[in-house]
């Protein structure tokens, strides 16, 4: 071997060693991070098809998001009514920390502030037109909400046990929740089954009861959840997961701030005091090595005993560029049918007394699309991920799978922008 060739071979060996070092620091860490990403989220489905090991790095996330609901069209609002809807700012913070060899703890805090007007009730068009008219709340509402969740995982050889406790506070609303879950892998960690239970107690003390005496002073509700899922590796590049979630709610399920127009008079929103909901969610992840991209496909079918049905399909493409950049275009389609007691307004009262004109219970479809850009860089021994994203959400009765006779005028569309930062240390 000539001296030049030997030098070239030495340089190649040094380059390979450098690359392996970088891979260990970056790629290796990335793989580990991938194994532990969202392991501290609410006890839920398996993080991936094989049970993950305990994380060894600390991780801190911060995210700011702002979403602006489109102003409601003047032609859909009662004369003189407010047309501006909500502007919402959200700050989220999350910290996860390994505790010893087999535990971790996570803390997630979200704080959001809201300002704007909101739909109140719907009336027939006073001019005799076919389209109903939205009456908005008379004044701009300012609210704030803080949500705190503490969660932990215990990692064993082939399984993970997890638990979470949280609460959420608003001026007029307080919710406490807890959950327990677990997952176990078998078939050489190619199959993971997971399951869990959850509980939430919500207390509402509506404001301005002196101005609106029909509002209750204090009401509560309880929610009980149960889920089971199975995740399966289908090959070196593909995994799939499917799960069933059931939730039983009882108590005050109406909205104390909404009314329904019944027999030419607005009366308090009145919904059944129990609700049983089922969701069947299936998710597919497939990586395409040649183009360094990953496809996400999620489908959910939902139904409940208020006779609502919905279909949701979500698609996302994660394209990695130059090793440290990632672009993520996404698309979502959603369609729901109406609750059996819902109507935009009621010519005659229902025999059971229920009445609700909330657009959330109306039949509609929604299309949303988004784009997200991510990058990663390293300073000293710290690894940073930075991302920005934009999303547009539009709902319309014409987007529903089934034809809709009367569109609810309160349907909402919005823009969402956000920026996030993650630090690994």
């Amino acid at each position: 071997m000539s001296r030049g060739n030997a030098r070239a071979a030495r340089r190649a060996r040094q380059r390979r060693r450098r690359e392996r070092r970088l891979q260990r620091r970056s790629g290796g860490s990335q793989a580990l991070r991938a194994l532990t990403t969202s392991a501290l989220a609410l006890p839920g489905l398996a993080e991936r098809a094989a049970a993950a090991g305990a994380p060894v790095d600390y991780r801190a996330d911060y995210r700011y998001a702002r979403y602006s609901e489109d102003a409601i069209s003047r032609s859909k609002v009662a004369v003189g009514g407010e047309t501006e809807r909500y502007e919402i700012d959200i700050h989220q913070f999350r910290l996860e920390a390994p505790i010893g060899q087999s535990f971790d703890l996570g803390l997630e805090v979200a704080h959001e502030t809201m300002s704007g007007a909101t739909p109140w009730y719907v009336t027939p068009d006073p001019n005799g037109g076919d389209d109903p008219i939205q009456v908005m709340t008379e004044a701009t509402i300012d609210e704030a909400r803080t949500d705190v969740l503490l969660s932990g995982n215990h990692y064993r050889d082939e399984s993970v046990l997890n638990a979470g406790l949280g609460f959420s506070i608003e001026n007029d609303y307080m919710a406490y929740n807890g959950s327990l879950g677990g997952e176990r892998s078998f078939n050489e960690q190619n199959t993971t089954v997971s399951g869990g239970i959850g509980f939430s107690y919500d207390l509402i003390e509506p404001e301005d009861t002196n101005l609106f005496p029909e509002r209750p002073d204090r009401e509560d509700k309880q929610s009980y959840s149960l889920f089971a899922g199975v995740a399966q590796v289908l090959g070196r590049n593909t995994q799939v997961q499917t799960s069933l979630t059931y939730q039983h709610q009882r108590g005050f399920l109406s909205d104390p701030y909404k009314r329904a127009f019944v027999e030419n008079s607005p009366i308090p929103d009145d919904r059944p005091d129990t609700r049983n909901q089922f969701a069947w969610l299936t998710q597919l992840r497939r990586h395409f090595r040649k183009i360094d991209g990953t496809l996400h496909v999620d489908y959910q079918f939902f139904f409940d005993d208020w006779e609502m049905r919905s279909h949701t399909i979500e698609l996302a493409w994660y394209q990695t560029l130059f090793d440290r950049f990632r672009l993520v275009p996404s698309f979502r389609y959603y369609s729901q049918s109406q609750a059996d007691f819902y109507a935009p307004f009621y010519v005659t009262a229902r025999s059971d007394g229920h009445a609700a004109s909330d657009y959330r219970l109306s039949p509609f479809g929604a299309i949303s699309g988004g784009i997200k850009a991510e990058t990663r860089f390293q300073t000293w021994s710290l690894l940073w991920d930075v991302n920005v994203s934009y999303q547009r959400y539009v709902s319309d009765a014409d987007y529903a799978l089934e034809s809709v006779d009367v569109e609810n005028p309160g349907l909402v569309s919005y823009d969402l922008i956000s920026a996030g930062l993650t630090l690994h240390f």
């Binding site: 990335q30 793989a31 991938a34 990403t37 969202s38 609410l42 006890p43 839920g44 991936r48 098809a49 094989a50 995210r63 998001a65 979403y67 989220q92 999350r94 809201m114 509402i141 609210e143 909400r145 949500d147 969740l149 949280g166 609460f167 959420s168 506070i169 919710a175 929740n177 807890g178 190619n190 869990g196 239970i197 959850g198 919500d202 889920f227 399966q232 590796v233 289908l234 090959g235 070196r236 799939v240 979630t245 909205d255 909901q277 969701a279 069947w280 992840r285 990586h287 959910q300 609502m308 919905s310 959603y334 729901q336 959330r360 929604a366 994203s389 959400y393 709902s395 956000s418 996030g420």
Partner: protein, 73 residues
């Protein structure tokens, strides 16, 4: 063989139209361990999206057993 039956059933159910089931060894999991192969690669984003949809739509968000609070305008 008896122990494998549930696994085979699971594989059969999950892999309809997806190319079948094969055991992937730990050293073959490079792609599966990627961050973009996670069910929710960005937990804060997933949490926010779930909350916004809860406040705009009537459906339950599947796959978890916790959470609460309103923030529903």
């Amino acid at each position: 063989m008896r122990a494998l039956r549930p696994t085979l059933m699971v594989c059969l159910l999950l892999s309809l139209g997806l190319g079948g089931c094969s055991v992937v060894r730990p050293w073959e999991r490079e792609a599966l361990a990627r961050s973009d192969m996670a069910w929710e690669p960005d937990p804060l984003e997933a949490s926010l999206d779930s909350h916004i949809r809860f406040s705009k739509e009537a459906s339950l968000s599947g796959g978890t057993a916790g959470g609460g609070g309103c923030g529903c305008n």
